[in-house]
């Protein structure tokens, strides 16, 4: 039986989810303890929103391209 290849979109989904969680976490931490390096328009909290966006895209890809358990 030929092995079924996991879709690249599934890997992308996993990576984006992990990145989203890390960036979201860093954004929240930055709200509590401001980062030393000043960035312009920090008040937009881009990290928080971008982190959420990455998690959403990542989860959609994981669900849509989840490897099938059996292939006959």
């Amino acid at each position: 039986m030929e092995k079924k290849m996991i879709s690249i979109w599934y890997f992308i989904g996993l990576l984006l989810t992990v990145y989203g969680v890390l960036i979201f976490g860093a954004g929240i931490y930055d709200l509590i303890v401001p980062f030393k390096h000043h960035v312009v328009l920090r008040e937009l909290h881009a990290g928080v929103w971008w982190g959420v966006l990455l998690v959403v895209i990542g989860v959609v890809y994981i669900v849509k391209f989840k490897p099938k358990k059996t292939e006959k």
Partner: protein, 560 residues
Amino acid sequence: MQNPGTLVSLSGVDTAIVAIYFLVVLTIGFYLKRFTKTGNDFFMAGRKMTAWIAGLSFVAANLGALELMGWAASAYQYGILATHWYWIGAIPAMLFLAIIMMPFYYISKTHSVPGYLQLRFGNSSRSLSAVCFGFMTILMSGINMYAMALVMKVVLGWDIHFSIWVSSITVGVYVALGGLFSAIFNEVLQFVLIWLGALLIPIIGLIEAGGWGKMVAKIHQNFQGDFTHLWRSIGSFSDNPMGIHWTGIVFGLGAIISMGYWTTDFLVVQRVLAAKDLRSAKLAPIIGAGFKMFVPFIVILPGLLGLAVLPGLVGEAQAVATGGHSFNEILPLMMARYLGPGLLGLGITALIAGFMSGMAGNVSAFATVWTYDIYKPLRKKQLSDGHFVKVGRWTTILGVLVSIGTAYLVMQFASIMDYVQALFSFFIAPLFATVLLGMLWKRATSAGGFWGLLAGTVSSIGMWAWVKVDPGALRIIALSPNAKAMAENMYRALWSCLICAAVTIIVSLFTNPKPESELNGLVRSCTVLPSEKHLKLTQKPIFWAGVVFAVFIVLNIIFW
């Protein structure tokens, strides 16, 4: 803490994001090794890629880190004129590849562009093209590697040797394990990361500038000259920051350089050859063109925003002399300006991903051309498919090592960097004329193809050397003494392509052509192409090519 003399410093979470990226690309390489058993798997990704995967990989192989950094810097230097390299300098050529040329590459079942030349013109043309391509690819790979390491040193303070070895070995390992499968899959991943890592810069930049209109007003306030119109300022060589005339853009860039690069540079064409069927192979460059059209949003717009919010950046030499910042650093400067913890790691990962996708493109294409077009013809006896896969894997490693050697060579002789653009006009521009005449003119002969290609390449190198020895020759080659290096490259490419075409036609008229029966699948008038009449309108590649072309026209009118 930020190292003195560097632009930005990474926090713990940024470093974790970069480290996870390296881990994932290597994991994909190890995972795909089990699917890479035959030569068709290793060199052609089994010819089973969907149009979307092949199309994204096609455009990602070109979207290297130097592309991101270099064109953002060019946008700061030349304004919106740099967008021509993404629109007229890419879109028509990608659509031309899809609709006109792809059927012949695909139906002939060639494994490479030199492979097509062998089928059409014989071994001499194939060997000349393969050797030129191999040389150009390795040199480009080494130059890119050095430039990327230099960027990492300036931006992050990373040791130059560390950057070169770690990134190159990672690329070497995943390409050697999974071949083109691995290169293509990682390129798609890298493409997504490049977009998500770089997209916030123009978004936050536009918010800071107050929108497009206010950004343009600020640029006019900060600088003299027209930095915000695509066509209005190129009616004369002296009216625009690039010193170029519209004829150079349309005929040199649009008709020759871009056609040559996008239709005959095997680095990009290889990705489309991996498509699962002819329709997918035709759709892939169209999908690639659709995405390519919007790359200026993450590359050119940050440069323009820099003109509005960071005036005062200077050229490299002046920056070194004064200790200020050069416009070559505009992209990392914008990253440091807008990206906080985590986002900065994603932005740096986008740069590293860009470097890796470009390098993987180089080494996988080099491995294929070396194995099938240089090594195989030299071995007379019949060898197994497994043998060629093994040669491909070792060639990948060897290609990476030679590229590293080239990078160290560039480190010793930095002036080699100046010659990068010239390489394209040496090898790619004449190749376009040879392939195009081969596909469209059945009278073109083997001798015509070879001598035309040789004459085009030699004349291009000759014109470059002439201007080096006598700068006054610029007036003749580029039609103006005011022409900058980029304009010179455009015109040299135009002349070398015309010389190649003229020699091919003249020699062909005096030599015997192949019988038509041998040209089936290679020449348009001798090939019956598969009908697409049974497809719905929205399934036809020509329909989507029309849509992309219409958007391309509208964008040019908007930014006229």
